[in-house]
């Protein structure tokens, strides 16, 4: 049975999009109490002044970082730039505070890989070692007992869940794992709430482009996840694109079938694999999921295609990059960690149109 306890919550950071989305979700969570949210730069500013959508519902202000206050929380979310959580997490974990990092500090198991892609040394190797990758559909049981969670990136959530059934023992030999292709497209909020020219409306709207084609931080993260599931090396090409929309990620995944895979009923396999998952919707074969069908919600939808005349399986995946791709997943993970119903506070329906 679910407990009735109120979870005391601290947020470090919180002036960006994952932070504001976390605030929106937690303000509607029946057993969450926001105790403190810190921002050195905005200390003193009422949250509702920065995010008017919270007016009348969230009355606290950003405060100066204060470790003692954070230590009195049950869980602390880091919605900060990369590198902050690994500095502050050890002191919190030590006193029994759970840590959920929405940045990348606890995503890559290999500290050398972290350094290569994020250009800094990892300063909490012990915690990294014990940390759990917060993808509930893959790691639910390990999340339950974790002290530190590295929450997946937005793209990695959609690509890993899209390929996950193929990584299982019964299907892995049906496909050519030497080259999986993830051709993905994200709304601009994925770039964060930083003042930059290339994401200004006059630059990014009525426009489409690829980016990071020659190397993106999410590539090693996805590869690591797929290989962990598959238990073997996997070749992965990941091509992200920028879409003139606010929210949403759409992944078009390509797996080449081996002769043995040509007759497999992948649809049934996907439905079996995700049966019972509250947030994963396997649509009828041949559907074309739209990002707006998950806008503002924690759902992720998947559809399979077999293009005519080719030995290829195409998997289409949509999610809201700020919800299932970030803050909604963070709350889902929190629910698991605190033995609450996994869907608590997360059943808002998508807002569409």
């Amino acid at each position: 049975m679910a407990s009735n306890k109120i979870i005391k919550i601290g947020i470090v950071g919180g002036t960006g999009y994952t932070g504001s989305e976390l605030l929106r979700l937690l303000a509607q969570h029946p057993q969450a109490e926001l105790v403190t949210i810190t921002s050195r730069k905005e200390a003193g500013l009422p949250l509702a002044d920065m995010f008017p959508g919270l007016r009348g519902r969230v009355s606290i202000a950003f405060s100066e970082p204060d470790v003692d206050k954070l230590k009195r929380c049950d869980v602390v979310f880091f919605a900060t730039p990369h590198g902050v959580a690994m500095e502050q997490a050890p002191a919190l974990v030590e006193v029994g505070v759970k840590v959920i990092d929405l940045a990348a500090d606890f995503r890559l198991r290999d500290p050398a890989l972290f350094t290569q892609w994020y250009k800094m040394e990892h300063s909490a190797l012990g915690l990294l070692e014990e940390s759990v990758y917060g993808l509930p559909e893959v790691n639910r049981e390990r999340i339950r007992g974790a002290r530190v969670i590295g929450l997946p990136g937005c793209y990695p959530t959609s690509v890993q869940l899209g390929f996950a059934p193929l990584m299982q023992p019964d299907l892995i030999d049906m496909i050519d794992t030497s080259l999986l292709i993830a051709d993905c497209a994200s709304g601009v909020s994925g770039a964060g709430r930083k003042a930059e020219v290339h994401t200004l409306l006059p630059e990014a709207s009525d426009n489409f482009k690829a980016y990071g084609v020659s190397g993106h931080r999410h590539q090693p993260e996805i590869k690591q996840g797929l290989e962990a599931m598959a238990g073997r090396p996997v070749g992965l090409v990941f091509t992200p694109h920028l879409v003139p929309m606010i929210r949403g990620i759409h992944s078009t995944l390509y797996a080449r079938l081996k002769p043995a895979g040509l007759g497999v009923d992948f649809q049934a396999a996907y439905e079996r694999h995700f049966a019972g998952e509250p947030f994963v919707d396997v649509m009828p074969f041949g559907s074309t999921p739209e990002t707006r069908s998950v806008r503002g919600s924690n759902f992720l939808r998947i559809a399979l295609h077999r293009p005519p005349g080719a030995d290829v399986l195409i998997i289409l995946v949509v999610e809201d990059n700020l919800v299932k791709g970030a803050s909604g997943q963070a709350v889902q993970v929190m629910n698991i960690m605190f033995d609450l119903p996994e869907t608590m506070g997360l059943l808002q329906l998508p807002v569409s149109p």
Copy 2:
């Protein structure tokens, strides 16, 4: 105390935007049960096939119109073109079913005006006579006992609430009522879910234009509402514009001050007027409310300005045209009619960004 009874709900129409938004809200309402939704054209189609955001939450299909089924409901919403509710409402009201019309059949008190603007005779004059205009902040007590509700249009909600405090006895003589100007802008969903060239994305996006400048159906509706509040004739110019966005209405209202009005504290008057209203937010003087600050929510925000060097009061109002401007207001009205807490099922926070 609020009752615990489940409200049995029928929807006529429901393939448009006000219909789908009603479905979204009712599916999240703890005491509402959707019994039937009719669409001659789409009969048999599961709702979730048309609106994938409802997948897994709404399992019924559109059904053929069936009066007997509707008669077993507690309330029937008409999310139909103009002219349908007036045909079907009498039979429902007769057997005690409450009717809430989201179209225009019960908005204009004067049937001649209805005929002039909607190009059809009114066929239910008796019901029109007893019907109540469903604007809770103005008509709450009359709504409570009504059998038939004419729900305000999207623009009229924002303009009437924006001018409402000025129409009261203490302020009405402070302003020049011979010419009020409502310069309004709406997202494209306000034009409905009809296949038309001028609202195609390539026509309506990256574009801005006025429309209906020489006459729009909402002008007589707003004028009627303001005059009912003021108890005297009011001159009104209403200029709608089309904004390349999905949802949202922004009204910029101009009232010229008489000399007696120059020293009045309008901010205090507005705050007093709307004190206790759960969905009206009077922002600090000089604020500039954004439509996204109410996206997907039933809130309406108001801010006042006194432009320098002019004897003018400017009132800025934002609402989500599909929620407070239509389906959210419909649920709010239902809550009042059935003696439920007025905010029940309507406290979702705005989705922003």
Copy 3:
């Protein structure tokens, strides 16, 4: 030397986007004179009433179809639905009028394939046989003497030019031609100026989706083109997506390299292949072309990538679907056919932002 003669032009259709774009380009072409434009539905309507951007520059009106008038033209463009040109072209060609069809009647060489994809019998097999596929960078010499042109589709232009250098004898054995992947994204104007629900702004904006994944008419057209260049069968998966923008096509093309291809300097090969092409811009290796960099212009930009750790060549291609993907290409072809400088009237710079 270029002649100074004025080309007398007829347009059949012209109320859609390729038609209006053709009007825009021809109105700025120094040696083009629009003699007649027909539309049964809009006969009598001044063009500038439908397309206000033409006010003051194009004074003629749509007229009833009139074959005699068309026969007095030098060239007739068909900006009609599929199936119209094949009916009317023979009578025009017979009297020496050149025909350029922007629809699909003369794209597919195989009439059975045409019937399969366009659900109609081909009624002008003789003309189909002699018609030339209007892709200047591939077919320039044959276009020069052609009487009937089948203009490529928007996607096929970008995909064929993107893969073209790889189809040449020196490179074809460097890649795995059994599976080429074209993952493409188009602005909504690609769906035409038809009133349809799925392309309304509230449906298509702030949204991203794939479509036609299980079969799209442009797949056989592209495959035909690639095979013609390669002189051998080619496997092609084509996945189109809809982007919430007005104009622009972005193609992300994947070719797997054979061991022999791993050391090849594809950048040099592409630059050599397109040297001298006035409208094809091979950007520096590793660039990420944006659709806005060609908005409103006839240019097409290409950039190559070698993603790390994979034996794959990625080719990125952008074009304006209404210009190089349709009407600009039509004018380019006309220039070639009438021995005018190929770039005449087509050197407008992209409009960005």
Copy 4:
């Protein structure tokens, strides 16, 4: 007769939207030669690297500011922040170089007003005194002989031209000049190419808001212009709004009619007033001009309305804020100053859709 001489051009600044638009227009101008463009920050960067739309057409790079180089130009455009032109213009004017400032240094005649709104002292009072306000439809003859031009702001161009006919002796007494209202809406490029949070796509798209309601720099500029035309004081309320589109300004202007004005044929008066103007299009009475009908072009369209039941004249005006509202107007002014045909290089048709 127009001379054939090539105008040697320098640009100071040029990394913003008015700069890039100026580059686009000048690159297509048959008698303009860009000699130098300076940017301290971007010195050495080829223009086409920053603005890929210019690839293949503009080969020069940004260079360090170099007064000697500028002195060898015929005209220097300042596409800089406010305050730069007034520092550098005197040295250029002294040696006979014409100066056209796209910023605000030479807009306001009264240096005290300049200081009040732009928070800096004016450092070139003599030049300010002789400078001419570059609005050709009002000031054409004075522009011809000017040495220094203060180019109008984007909003002021549309509002002043919209009200201009009413400011003439024959009409000025027909309207209530104590309160003119200009309710305007601009695309986001009007905010410039600065990295700021509020103009990021996720903040500014799918959103609408007013701004600067309690005071905007363009209010005194417009008021100054109207009063200069009218020869008397004019009351003006100016309310700008931000539209989620890239380009375009739409102004909805309200003038209350005096009894004497009720029978006036304003349509005829407007058509007379603008007869012969190459860039001003007075549309049929009751039209609703769209911003996209001028996108990318130097045209400005005007339409008049008389809303029913009110003694009000509504004037709708659209322009492209970067063309007629800035860089196109700059080229138009240059053409006048150098005795070229006023439309030279400026007759590109609008790009729509």
